[in-house]
Symmetry: D2
Subunit: 366 residues, 4 copies
Amino acid sequence: MTGNTLGERFLVLSFGESHGRCVGVVIDGCPAGLPLSMEDIQRELDLRRPGLSLVTTKRYEEDKVELLSGVFDGYTTGAPICALIWNKDVDSRPYEKMRKTPRPGHADLTAFLKYGGYNDWRGGGRFSGRITATFLMAGAIAKKLIRHTLGMEVIAYSIEIGGIKAKELSDNKIKRLRYSNEVRCADLEAAEKMKMKIMEELSKGDSVGGIVECKVLNVPIGLGEPVFSSLESDLSKALFSIPAVKGIEFGIGFGASRLKGSECNDPFSVKEGKVVTLTNRAGGILGGISNGMPIVLRLSFKPTPSIRKPQKTIHLDTLEEVDLIVPGRHDPCIVPRAVPVVEGMVACVMADHSLRAGQIPPIIKR
Amino acid sequence: MTGNTLGERFLVLSFGESHGRCVGVVIDGCPAGLPLSMEDIQRELDLRRPGLSLVTTKRYEEDKVELLSGVFDGYTTGAPICALIWNKDVDSRPYEKMRKTPRPGHADLTAFLKYGGYNDWRGGGRFSGRITATFLMAGAIAKKLIRHTLGMEVIAYSIEIGGIKAKELSDNKIKRLRYSNEVRCADLEAAEKMKMKIMEELSKGDSVGGIVECKVLNVPIGLGEPVFSSLESDLSKALFSIPAVKGIEFGIGFGASRLKGSECNDPFSVKEGKVVTLTNRAGGILGGISNGMPIVLRLSFKPTPSIRKPQKTIHLDTLEEVDLIVPGRHDPCIVPRAVPVVEGMVACVMADHSLRAGQIPPIIKR
Amino acid sequence: MTGNTLGERFLVLSFGESHGRCVGVVIDGCPAGLPLSMEDIQRELDLRRPGLSLVTTKRYEEDKVELLSGVFDGYTTGAPICALIWNKDVDSRPYEKMRKTPRPGHADLTAFLKYGGYNDWRGGGRFSGRITATFLMAGAIAKKLIRHTLGMEVIAYSIEIGGIKAKELSDNKIKRLRYSNEVRCADLEAAEKMKMKIMEELSKGDSVGGIVECKVLNVPIGLGEPVFSSLESDLSKALFSIPAVKGIEFGIGFGASRLKGSECNDPFSVKEGKVVTLTNRAGGILGGISNGMPIVLRLSFKPTPSIRKPQKTIHLDTLEEVDLIVPGRHDPCIVPRAVPVVEGMVACVMADHSLRAGQIPPIIKR
Amino acid sequence: MTGNTLGERFLVLSFGESHGRCVGVVIDGCPAGLPLSMEDIQRELDLRRPGLSLVTTKRYEEDKVELLSGVFDGYTTGAPICALIWNKDVDSRPYEKMRKTPRPGHADLTAFLKYGGYNDWRGGGRFSGRITATFLMAGAIAKKLIRHTLGMEVIAYSIEIGGIKAKELSDNKIKRLRYSNEVRCADLEAAEKMKMKIMEELSKGDSVGGIVECKVLNVPIGLGEPVFSSLESDLSKALFSIPAVKGIEFGIGFGASRLKGSECNDPFSVKEGKVVTLTNRAGGILGGISNGMPIVLRLSFKPTPSIRKPQKTIHLDTLEEVDLIVPGRHDPCIVPRAVPVVEGMVACVMADHSLRAGQIPPIIKR
């Protein structure tokens, strides 16, 4: 398999560049018979669309999805599904100037060296945040698939931005409130503070990072293929594809290293005839396999590397140190727009593993 | 690909069970011409061998590696390499009793349900820590390959156990001291305290977790295949295959969420004619691609789930709650034995990506 | 991997339907730095375009390729390349009538059953000959890659149509003449007879089959990954994806079963300092690995299943036997249009194996 | 994926060398709950065991299978199954002499060049016919799986050897008689002539080729994943891994090129409530998908390249032409021993595709 493909049975192939003609995705392996409309995909895309507010980047893109194949008469056909959005609001001039002065914290230098200078550098090319729109399109289809066939639900939300933490809330509250504000945080009080923190750092020409939590609800028991395709393995692989992610933890996560075994093990019990655990420090996964409890994971996002403050870099031709001021339009905080992307990538992995475990049939009956 | 395979070009297939005939591994894709002896593998295996001391489990296994194929006249041939160790010191009786009462924190229940009760439950079967010996055998070959061809080195070491933290040390000190003590910690003072902490909890019938840090030195620029096979993606996928890992972070990791962009970006500079970064908060990876700086990652390990304290579980036939006391021999702390396993898995990924990026040729010339 | 992907390192993903919005392809794994223009692809597409003459189908499609990604400033970037052609001249009405009466020799019935009736049946959907345009687009890029980097050349041509056989000709003559006539046969006398045979059967409402031979010239020694990814294995896998292929043979092929060992073995010799074989009954492949001699293979194509003569089929609702007359526009012989498609698929496999064997670097230097 | 792996969900990884310690195989992806004993595998191995008679090679190997993993209490566990046979009757001296004079018709030269001389040349190493024992072991498990769950049956048999053709027989006769004689031919009269032909050529120091036919009975409708993983594609890929195969055809095969459409199409009809075709020129596959009719394919085998007659080759050091007389023990005809190997490889592909199409569940219920 090559670098731009993800998944074994719900295969996602992402293509396109930030300032090229389009960004798109092909999904191969989606079963026949899933009701699917453009609206199913558009709804998700709209959640990350730039240009919505002061909080996010000012680049404006309509980002209207087109479905090129694999759907017929409102249902998936079992053939590959190609979906894309065209690039329209493109101004590559600021990038022209920076070509020889790689931006700190960005992939400019590594991409240049890996591809011998042939990479499309305009707007970050393949390394632009815009590529996550292709993750969202695939994720929208995966979400529909796992919800329609298994009732699974994926919810992500900001729990920390710029050092401001949200308080814990019930799943229902999270479901209802997470998209009600620009920072995608269900704790509305914290959301307001996060927004102010972002605006404050933006005014200083700086940026902030944060933490996104994600849960999967109604997970069937038995997903995950040990030993190398455990759920944790495949979820982390997919999620580290999102730019700016620097860490991931499941359940108790890094806290586990400070607990004793007697505190960390989740006791088994029975509830309504089903085996459950009384706590969920495992985050819904034991031995790499889902145990029926909600899957819980957290992702650390670094602050947007594009800032207006001057930074030290070098000129690729002269190898002299230069001061760089990154021009253009940028999110002062990636986290809010990453939230639906996290949901999408998690949904892709859950769809893939549901198919691998035989939980979703090759044809979805009407 | 199936669940027991890892890698694209340096393919690792793990097989065997804890109390079956053997645990073994086949590597397909190792280039021809690599000098390889049984000692290269035995040395690594010896680093995780149980029964060495009070600190680790009392099961005694000689764990003598056998090379069944793929090596001829002291060199790899380009054909698949099969290596295995036979199981000898096996007593399955304690597990017989626990069959219907899944151990909290273990894969007993999920394995039982996923495989319809057909799984080999003796000693945890495929979910035993003993399976990591197969990771080590593959890792030993990968280590040899990347060191011999590219001079790459992988070093892992405990930095926290049972809440006791080691201080930061130079790479040279770490290389020299990490295997000098039973807890695999280069800070000898902390090592002593960690050991005492482990003994203390063992005496109470409990267990502790910890954190392992791993660095890769002398990494060529350009490893990693965006967007879905980034180095972070493939390293995390491989490392979550190690039982008890609950979190991973690269470079600044979860700390990134509390920094500003101006603090988090690594400024570029030039040193001895090569582009470097003045700090390494990125952990050696930008845009999913190695930037030539050391790769730095940390893993959180939960405490050993097998403890002597009574725990709540249920009986699978009656679904009644029962108290379980886990018998048998167990590590009070997994971390020390996990250290060489982490090195092995990281080496496998680095070997795979070095091959994918064309940094290692298909034939290694004498 | 899923059903619509081919190749390990030069990955081809085909999408689209005959009467949907487009047919397209994504290639992932093409090295950076290959000069590539739309003309490179258009030239190949034009060789199979329908509507050129009486001999082929009358459906008219402009088939103008669009390059959506992966090429920048005239060179490949190392990112996925998406190419597609839009569907324009589409009339789905004849297929509407036949929906419940599967056409003998076609995939109507098997596609209906495999996909539970959700498949796009218009114009054969994914099973239309039009899908081979996606093979051609991928093949055009593969051809350019292996010619530009290794000087490899792929030539296919008709050697038998409707029972009329061409005589053997030199590679040079074949290169020059194979596309000079509508039946893609380098023996011009035979070509004329083949054409007349096709017209004769067309006038009777019938169709004919034939044999295509393909050679690969200037093949480097050492391509092919034993034991399961031998060159023969991967070439045959790719070529059986072309609709209507019912047999393949390499070198002496089915004739081998009637020879003695002493007649069949190719003696080794030396020519201009290089090891060669004096004959080429092996078809350029020994032990699954290229030996530097031209690769030679032949494919048997069945006659076009769409004929105007009445045929027996059944009605899917009533399960009663009915007589079917297939309406619409169809090739009376698939072979001529298949010729460039064979070249394309062979080129894809040669590109994939050249990359796997390390014969093509990850960056093509200017 | 690497060269020594086959299949997507029923993954076969072959390892070992002719004169190394063993030849073996790991299968990953076999569902849990399949009853499996060593006898199931031994029975198949015995069908190709050398040393049985004058007709086949005189090397004697007991070839007693050992099951190292994946089977517990008589059932598969869902974990990888490792099976191997140890090499015992090994005399590598004759090969020592031939190291620098590659045998015509063998992989000696291509293997030497591909692996830079590091390949294990003893007895042909990875290119020995003995490697097909690993295909048989995998095939035995696949056969059991598809018969136990779906009632599918795979039967192969010689239909031509040294120019002597068998007559067509009923499936029942073939099932009963094909293994009743040393040439694996169900037409007993022809079998006798084939045997005499082989002995005659053996006495002259020569060898003969032949044709094997294979049928799969009770195939469920809907196996095969278009467009690139059609049944024909994956069967041919697997079968070209068998040494000496030079051609494959399905159903009417190469004969298709001489038929008209009206003669070649199989008319649909209904029999006992099921859709069938009145003829089976398609060989059970339409559009790459099984149509429920028996799958029928034929393979051309070249004569054994190892003959006692002197042959022309070159010396690798001096590049001078030399006469070579191949010493050692060799089959004068590969075909009889290839027959069970063909069955095994076909079974592996049918198992893989049955899993891919969801026809075999992940757990086989008692």
